[in-house]
């Protein structure tokens, strides 16, 4: 993979983080209060985890960055689910 493409993917990952941060600050007024799973973040994370192993990996980086960037107390489970799916897909495609 070319360095330029990796840089673009990293930039999209950062943008995803930033959007997640903005979204969570708008949606949740204080950290560590709501214990439920954010459905939007979970869906985006799962799609991101799948896309990261396809030629559309840049979009995958953007989407998986979304739950990671959320404010403290939110997005952790969603990100880990996305990461596990990404790893499982990687292993499935490799072997």
């Amino acid at each position: 993979m070319e360095l330029f493409e990796i840089n673009l993917a990293i930039l999209l990952f950062i943008i995803g983080n930033f959007i997640g941060l903005e979204y969570s600050y708008k949606k949740y007024s204080s950290p560590y209060v709501e214990k439920r799973i954010d459905k939007i973040a979970l869906v985006l994370s799962i799609i991101g985890g799948i896309l990261i192993n396809t030629p559309m990996y840049m979009l995958g980086c953007l989407l998986i960055g979304f739950p990671l960037g959320m404010r403290p107390g939110y997005g952790r489970v969603e990100f880990i689910v996305g990461l596990i799916i990404a790893l499982l897909f990687y292993l499935l495609l490799r072997w």
Binding site: M1, L3, G73
Partner: protein, 292 residues
Amino acid sequence: MDTSLIGTINLTIHAFLVGSLLLGLHRKIMARIQGRPGPPIIQYLLHTLKFYVKEITFPITAGNPLYMFVALLDVAIWLSALIIAVDFKSSLLIIIGIYVLQKIVEHGCGLSSGSPYGKLGGVRSVFSAAAEVPLFAVVAAVYLTTHSVLISDVLKYQAVNGSLIFKMPICAFAFFILLVSKTPYSPFGIVKGKDIVSGYMTEHYGLLASIIYIAEAIAYFVLLWLFIAVFIGPSIINDPISTLIAMVIMTIILAFVSGLTPLLAPHHSVMLQMTIAGLVLCDVLYRLIVGG
């Protein structure tokens, strides 16, 4: 690696982005270890951008033009290190020289501000030069084993003979301690210890602080890259994705070290680094006697 101008710009952006994200990740993991929420991992990047658009302020005690140029020198030093190490895979001796220049930056940065905290940070930076002694010894040991100080030759040697980390564990440990010394909030971070506010950077603000942050992100990337290149080898370093994964793993390890250890007193920090240097020197002597 692409050594054209576009390729070098690409590499610089890559080093800055990756270095910034890793420093953000380092802070986040440290915070979680200590039971705090911690900032988002893009915080370092946001910090850099925020300071970049703020106005430059000059303290009344600042000694210009050193106060201003030292920040530019910092970024120039680490850009040179990036190009020499990652792009050209050139001599480790030049990297040592560059690392020594970093001390001039820290010292000049602290003294030029006129602040007592900055000055103390500058003075501490001089006697934390003990961190460089293990680096010299590591390069000597690498030379005795691979018969070259060129990074490209060290990589070729490892492609044939396997990773140096298994052949030279003491040297790898000493280089790792150098990484720990350079990591923020580490036990050896006496130069920017919170007891002296922000050390040599206390008075640098706005664009100048942003430039120093950019240099530190590149420095972090270069040092991690060097460790992986010199001790783990071409199997990882030739693939940018594997390099990224290795850097993330190393950052997690460094965050655990920083999060679980207190800041050492300056004399303890120097003593410990000199002890490690002594250990590596014994290793160098042994290699001299047995012949590589």
